[in-house]
Amino acid sequence: MSWPGFTSLGAGWLLLLAVPLVALYFLKLKRPQVRVPSLVLWQQVISDQRVNSPFQRFRRNLLLWLQLLLLLALVLGAMQPFIPSTETRLKNLPVLIDCSASMGSVDLAGGGNRLDEAKQRVKKLIEQLLPDQRMAIVEVTNTARRLTDFTDNKRDLLAKLESLQVRDVPSKLDDGLRMAQAMARTARIERVLFVSDGNVPPQIDFELPYRLSFDQIVTKGNNLGITEFNARRNGSRWNVFVRIDGSESASGLCDVLLTDGPEIIGRETVTISPGVSERIEFEIDGTRPASLEATLVRQEPDSLAVDNTARLELAQQRPLVVYCPSALATYRQVLAILPTLVIVPTAGALPPEVAELKTYDLAIVSGDDEPPRPAKVTLHVGSVPAELKSSIEVASGVAEVADWSRVAGLLQHVQLLDVAISENPQYIGEASEKTVEEAGYTVWATTAKGPLVLARERDDQYDYRLLFHTDRSTLPYRVGFPILVANLVQAAWQQSGLEELRALGTGVLPAMTGIPDERYQLIGEEGSQEATAEADGRVAGFAVYRSGNYRLVSGTGDERKLGVSLLNLQETSLKSTSELGFQEVNIAADDKQLPADFPLWTYLVIVALGVMLVEWWFFNRPPMQVI
């Protein structure tokens, strides 16, 4: 049992009011005078042992005792007593509230969603906050956002709590835990409360520096949703794939509609078995761009609506545009035999669909030259990256390949053994492979003294470096050379979005290619965001928390459509874990809600009111009759 504590102990001095109260009671007590025949019997009564018992003495001065009791109740109420919930009182409590997509699940038809239930629980905690307790609210989605600093302002806390909305993104608890850890630098934190439905990754890579309470909202969702939506080039057509997953108990018939704007271009009816995912394939024309939208329609109630729609922007199919200067004749010879390519510079006219392109799909350049236009995939032949020139030098001499990555995309099925290279790249001084990795490159092939092939794959831009010039090696005469060029072209197909397209998921959008230093604006239903393209044309940093259609508008007025969908198996499955795994401990969901310190002042006020009523009744009893 915990002893009650007081948050305003100083109010105890008010008990001194008992002194004037007692004094006034006896000074002001005016007894009605009653004349009686004789006091003989009354004197015997007064001196009776029973009358002088402590209880009878108490009863004789009941009015005074009632007044003292009233004062005591009021003073105790002013001292703000409480029953501590735990052995250590929580002064600062960060509350992490899961706002991921699964929290928008409506488990009972006509009821509120899980976030509403979470809000109710946190609201109760806020209302029970004592004056010396502070709370901070942190929204946890795929990142963490602090809504309030530690504060005891209940109105502010309640307002921020009400402003919480479900985000169409998966949850990432470790970000929230790290934010709480950061908050611990400014205030002492004993415990952190996490309110969630448990639809989070069960294993979390985080070392808990505080106690974590997991308040789990019990869930019984029944949901089906689209978890994958992609398209693959099939000649001049697209094969479109839709994957449907669901919660463990979800099953039954559902329709999948594929639309391009208002036009329905496909429809499939599938039967979903519990725990089994279904993949549906559509084939559509690829000669024109399309804004595809796949919609899942169930006859049964569906807990989560946001994952029933997925969007995919399909580009018009066209040839791959490859920049390869004529000086690299060996490359051009290989490229010439590969299908559906446009090699520039070319003597003839470019096809109209590629003539106005501002980027190349693939650029193969010699030395430190740069292609005239940005390219999604670039191969520098015989070039050391500028940032590594102080670490790597190309010495004269013959180099032999010591090792290479057989699984690297560029070098798959390429045999480099016994390739003679008349240039010998090697590390300078203390430089090593680590130096290369710090510059963002990965070493895919190496000699005994230094790297031969470097790769840097960033979002939509791949940069490959052959640190030796292939013309000064025996590689063009090997079978592996056309394979290397074909791998390069395949990577370009992938990066240009002409081979396979995947629908964009919510969260931070992948970087897109744009005009260097151009300002871009992402406009959606809930507002817009701005970002400036980097020097290499990369446009990145847009965070999207709502599924829907967006427009990426450049400063020059160019507009690109983007369809963003949830597409997250974890969220669609509504799987709940009741135990969070950490590096050293596992945290099980609490059976009960985090007990808050129980304030007693309201009860004391009620007691005071009751005492006052009793006193009023006692004072106003029916008038006595005089003998």
């Binding site: 009653v34 004349r35 009686v36 004789s38 003989v40 004197q43 015997q44 009564v45 009878q56 003998i627």
Partner: protein, 297 residues
Amino acid sequence: MAGGQLTSLLSNQMLARAERLRLQTKRRLTNRSRGEHLAGKGGTSTEFNDFRDYVPGDDMRYVDWNIFARLGRPYVRQYRLEEESYVVIIVDGSSSMDFGEKFTRAKELAALFAITGMVNQEPVSLYHGKSMSVPVESLRKASGRVGYRPVFQFLEGLAAGGEATIEEAVRAVLKRHRGRGLAIVLSDFLTAGPIDRMLNELYEAGLEPWCVQILSAAERNPDVTGDLRLIDSEQGHNLDVSSVGDLLGIYREHLVRLEEHIASLCRQRAGRYISIEAERPVEELLTSSLIKQGWLS
């Protein structure tokens, strides 16, 4: 006095009924002087008792000559001796009696007892103890019907209101009274003094104590509550009592204890005790209490 009533204290019917009653004392406390009460020894009354042999010196008037003629031996007739017994009626006139019907009922009962005594040729003395500073008012030795009027006038003229307690009044009466008999004390007996001592003094004076305790309903069941300052009507003393209503149970217990105490004291002294309610009319008291309990017959 309306309707030809002899007194305002008792109705004529009540007077007529009282004249047919007789005080039933437990002991025969009589005086040597001839009276209406038969003494155990031989006397000169007309009521025959026995015969005995004549001895010289006997009064020749009591020789039964018929027996002498028949038996040839003189025998003397013996008659029962009738002696007189005083009836002393003491009415408590203190202020405590001046509540409700108490004093009125005391005067009515005093008249009743006096009539019963006087009609049986008993000398009836009436005393009214009121104040320490004023001598006891009295009417002494009224007897026979001729004593009715003085008795009624005396009683009708009494008024309550004084500080003398009943034991002080009795003590004052005993200083003036001489003669054995019966002492009827009409009081509420709400006194802090020793009642046993008062009864002892009556007993030692040859008076059989009859105590009539007259209490009003407000004294038996006080309807009071709250915090009060009680003021004694006789002494003027104050007593602060809180939550009086909660003490009524104990009050009643003490009242019952007082009644039992006085009754016990009277029994020990071959006396009588009765507690009556002042609100009940004297006709009802006579029938349901005094006759029923053998005070009068």
